[in-house]
Amino acid sequence: MDLAQRDKLSELVEELTTSGQQQLNQEKMKEIKKICKLSNDYVDHVYHSVMAQLDKEHAEIRLSAFQIASELFSRSHQFRTRLVDNFQEFLELTVETDSDQPLPPPKEVAKKLKISAIKTVQSWQATYGSAYKKLALGYHFLKHVKKVDFNDVEARTVAERTQVEERQRRMERIYRDRVETAAQEMEESYQEIETTVTEMKSCLELLLPDEFGLSDQLSFGDVALGSLEPAHRHRLEDELPCTSQSLTAEGALWKEMEENRGSNERREEEYEKKCLDPRMEKKPSPETVVMEGTAIKTNQDCEGKEADGDEEETEMDDVPDEDVFIRNSGLISHSYNLNISVESDLQVKETEDNEAVVSTLIDLHRLITTKHLPAVESWVQVFTKIGPEQQQLLRRALDLKNTLAFLLKKEKLLHIDYKTRIRKVTRVAAEGEEDDEDEDDFEEVPEKEGFEPHIPDHLREEYGLEPLPSTAAAPTNQRSPPKRLAPLVSPTPSSSFAARRMKRRLEEERDPTCAAATLHLLKGQMRPCTGPSTSVSSEPPGAPPSTAEGSQTASSTSSVGDKAPDAPIVPFGLDLYYWGQKQPNAGKIIKSTSQHRFWVPNEVDEETENQEVLAESRNRYISFPGKFTPVSHHCNASLGNGKLCPRQDRVKCPFHGVIIPRDAQGQPSRAEDRVREELEEMRRRKMHPEWQDVELMQDIEAATGEDLGSQRLLGKGKGRGKGKGKSKQKYPNLSDLKKSADTSRSRLEKKVFNKSSMRRVTAVMNKIDGRKHEKFSNQFNYALN
C-alpha cells in the first residue's frame, strides 16, 4: 500500500464530505474508485475514513459520506463485508435507529439523508440481502422492529406517523372547539349585529332618502350577496324596484326646483342652498352604469326629464311671473340649458337637523368597525378552517360580513362631513358613556368668571369681535406700547357684502336686547381705560390708524410699532425702583457686635455705611448676549454621489472638518485648502486601499474562510471589542450549525437571560427577601417560610 495514495484517499474523502454539496463530485469519486480498485487495503482505508466522517455531527458530512459508501458498496465486496459487519452503527448514523442518537442538524439534510439511506438499504437488500446475513437482519430490523415503511416516501417510522396523526387529531379537536365557541358567539351576538345593521340602515336612509336613486347604486352590493336569509332578502327586494320610483321622484324634484326658480329674488339664494343642501342631486355614477344595464337608460331618462321639466316649467309660468323672473334673475332667455356638474360621490353636510342621526351613525360605525366586523372576520376564519361540514355557519358568517362591509361602504359613500362636529360628538359620547372617550378630547380651558376685558387675539372671532389689525399690539403688558383697539369700521370696506354685514351689525347694536349691543358698550368702556396709558397714540379712540391720518402720528406709531418688539424687556432693579429718590438703606450694613441678648455695649455703631454696596445699588448691569444669527452657509463638501454635504454647522462639519469655502463641485476654492485635502486623501488611501471594501471582504472571508484582514480594516476599537474574534472556520462550505436561528424565542432569550437583566432581577428578588426578613425575622412562624 502506497502511503501517498493512502493520504490522497483520506484527503479525497475529506474533501468530498466537507464540500457541503448535495451531490458528490464525480471526478473525485472516480479517483477514489480508481485507487480503491488497486487493492483491498485501500478499500479498508476508505471504509475507515468514511465511517469516521459518518460519525461527524453534521448532516451534510454524513450525507456525503453515505453517498461515498453507497457508491463503493455496489463496487467492492470488501467494502460490503466491512460495512455489513458494522451495519448497526451504519444504520444508527444514517437511519437514526437509535432514538438517543438523533441525526445532527441541519434538519433538511438529515431528512434527506434518512430517506436516501432507507431507500438504499432497501435496494441493497434486494441485491445483496441473500448473501450478507447481517444486511438481511438489518433490513428486517428496520422493517419489523422500527416499522419503517419502505414504500412510504416520507420514510417515517411508526412512532413518527402516530405522532403526526396525534397532532392532527389534536388540531382537529382544537378547531372543533373553536368552531363551537365561534358558533355560540355568533348565535349570541347575531341579534345585536342585526339591530346594529338595521339602525345603520335607517340612519343612512334618514340622511339620504332613497328618492335619489342612491339605493339602486348601493343596493347592487346587497343583491350581490344573494344568499341572505329570506327576511333580509325580502327587504332588499322591496328596495329593488326603486329605480323607477327614484326616477319619478327626481322628476318631481326638478319641477319643484323650477318653481322655486321662478318665484322671486330669493331664487338665487335658494339655488345656492340647493347646491349646498345635504339632499344633493345625485346622478348615477359611471360605475353604476356599467354595473347595471338599466342604469344607462336611467341616466338618459334623467337628461330627458331634465329638459322636459324645463320646458314644461317655462310653459306653465304666467307672463307677469315671467317678467318678474327675468327681471330678478337677470337671465336673458327662458330656454337655457342648465348644466349641473354633480360629483359622482355624495357630500352630506352635518347640520343641526341631522346631528343626532349623524352622531348615531358615527357610533354605529365605530361599533361595527371595532367590534362586529373583527368578530365576524374571525368567525369566518374559524369556519373556513374546519371544512365542509360547517358550510351553513360559514355562509351565515359570510353574509353577516358582507352586510357589514356593505353598510360601511354605503356610509363612506355619503362622505359625511364629520370635522365640524368632532367636539360635539365627543361631548355627546362623553356624556353618554364615560369609558368610551379619552380625556384628550377636552381642551384645558382656563376658568373664567364673568367679564373678560382682554380677549386673546385668536379668540376674538369667537366673541364676535373683529380681529385686530396688528398682532404686535396684542395686549400682553399694560405698560408696554399702546394697545390699539379694533376699529369699529373696517378699514377696507370694499365689498358690498362686508358693507351689508356692517350695516346689519350697526342695526343690531342699536337693539339693546342683542349681545352685540352689550359688546359695543363694553368696547366703549374699554377705550377710556386704555386711553390714558397710551402715551404715544393721540388718535381719537376707535378711529382706524390709517396712513391717511397725520404723518407725524403715523411715523410715531410706526416707530413705536417697529421698536416695540425689538426692545428687550429688562427686569428693573432697585435703582429704577427708587428713581429720583434717595434710597433709604442703601449701603448700610447692620452690625451686631455682641452676641448677647441684653448686654449691649452702647458706643458701638450698629450701622456702617459701605460705599461699595452703595455704589452697587446704584449700578445696574444689563446683559445683552447678542442676537442669534442662523447659519446660512453649508458644508458643501462633495459627498461622492454627486451631491454636496448639506450640513449647516457654524464652524466645523463632523464629517468633513472645518468648513471652508468651496466651489460648486465641492472642491475647496482656496489653493492651500485643496492641497491639504489631497494630502489627507492620500493618507487615507494608504491605510484603506479603495478596493478593500470591508463588508465585501467580510463576506468573502465568511465564504472562503481566509483572512483578508477585514478585522484590521474595521479598526481596532470595533474589531477587538468583540472578544477573541471568531476562529477560522474549518469547512466553510458546510452550513454553519452554530449560527443560531433568529427565532422569537432566541431573541427573547437574549433579552431575558442577559447578564444585566438577570442581575437586576436577582437584586429585586433579594431585596424582597430581605424586606420580608426584616419584617418578620423575629416571628418564628414566618422564619420557617
Partner: protein, 407 residues
Amino acid sequence: MLGFLSARTAGLDDPLRLRRAESTRRLLSLELNHGRDVDRIHGNGVNCLDIEAVEGRYMLSGGADGVIVIYDLENYSGKQQYTCKAVGTVGRSSRFAHKFSVETVQWYPFDTGMFISSSFDKTMKVWDTETLKPADRFIFDGNVYCHHMSPIARKHSLVAVGTKNPKLQLCDLKSGSRIHVLQGHRAEILSVRWSPRYEHILATASVDSTVRLWDVRRASGSLFTLDQHNGDKTKAAAEAVNTAHNGRVNGLCFSGDGLYLVTTGTDDRMRLWNSSTGENTLVNYGKVSNESRKGLKFAVSGGCSPDCVFVPCGSSVAAYGLHSGELVATLRGHYNNVDCCDFHPDYQELYTGGKDCNILAWIPALRGPDVEDDTHVRKDAAAAAASAAGPAAANSAFEDAWSSEED
C-alpha cells in the same frame, strides 16, 4: 487437529483431550452464519432462551409479549442451509398464554415433556409440552423476575422463584405448593441459580447488591453473602452487609462444574467467585456494559479448556475468557439490546435473543482448507463463502464490480 486425531487413534491421548481441543477451537470461531436461521415467531423482544439438556435438540424462548416458542434445533435435512422450525407455540391467541412479558423459561431438566415459565403477570406456569397447556400454576404477590430448577437434583423437585418480594420462594412441583421461604434479601431478587454441583445449594442475586448462597436444608438463613472486598475489614467494617457489586446484581451463573460463580451488576462489572468459599477471584473483565433493569441471562461454555462466558453487552455479545478475563470475541449481529443467550454445550453453538425480535444462531465456522498460495486467498474465501451461501447468490454478490470506466 490431525495431530490430535492420530494421537487419539494411537490411543496416546485421553479422549477428553481431543474433544476439548476441538470444542475450544469451535468456540473461538463462532460467527453469525448464513446457514442457520431461527424462525421469526416473536413479534417482540426475546427475553429468555433455554436449550434442553436431555437431547440438546429443543430450545425454548420466551418473548416480551408473553409468547413462548419451542424450536427444533436439529438439522436433519443434510443441507448447510437450515432454519430452525418452531415446533410449538404458545401464542397470544392461546388462552393459557402469559398476559405479560415472560421473564424466564426452563425445561424440566430430566424430560422435555414439561417446562416451566414465569412472567410479569405474577404467575409461574408448569406446562405440558405435548398439549401446550399449563399443568400447574403458581400465583405470587409481585412480578416474577426469575425462577430456576436444579439441573441435578434427584432428591427434590424444588423451583426457586425470585419475585418482587425480597423473600425467595421455593415451590415444590411434587405437591404443587409453595413450601418454603428463604429470608435475607432486602430487595427484589433478579436472578436465582441452583448449583450444578450440589443439589441443595442455591445462589441468589438481588437489587440490594448482595449475592447470597443458600442451603435449602438450612432454614435459618443464607450460608454467606459474597463480598467484593474479600472480607477486607478496613472497608467492610463500615458496611453492615457485604456487597457483591456496587449496583444492582442482575446476572448470576455457575460455571459448568459448579466451582465458580459469575455475577454481573449494573456497576458495569462482572465478577468471578469461588462458589464454595465465596471468595472474589478478582478476575478483571473490564467494563461489561449492563443497563438492564431486569435479570440478565448469560451463559458459560462447558467442556472447553479455556471456558468462556458470553455476556450480552448492549447490542452485542461479548465473550470473555472465564479465568483470564480477556475479551475473546465480540459477536455483533443484533440491532438492539441483547437480553439473553444460551450456549449449546454439545455443538458449541450460541443462541442469542434480543429486543429486535431476532434469535440469532452463532455457529462455529467451518475450518477453511489450508492455503498455500497467497494469490488465491480471496478467490478461495469467496468460493468457500459461495459454497456456504449457494452458488447463484455468491457469484453476483461476492464479486467486485469495478466498472471499466474508472481505469
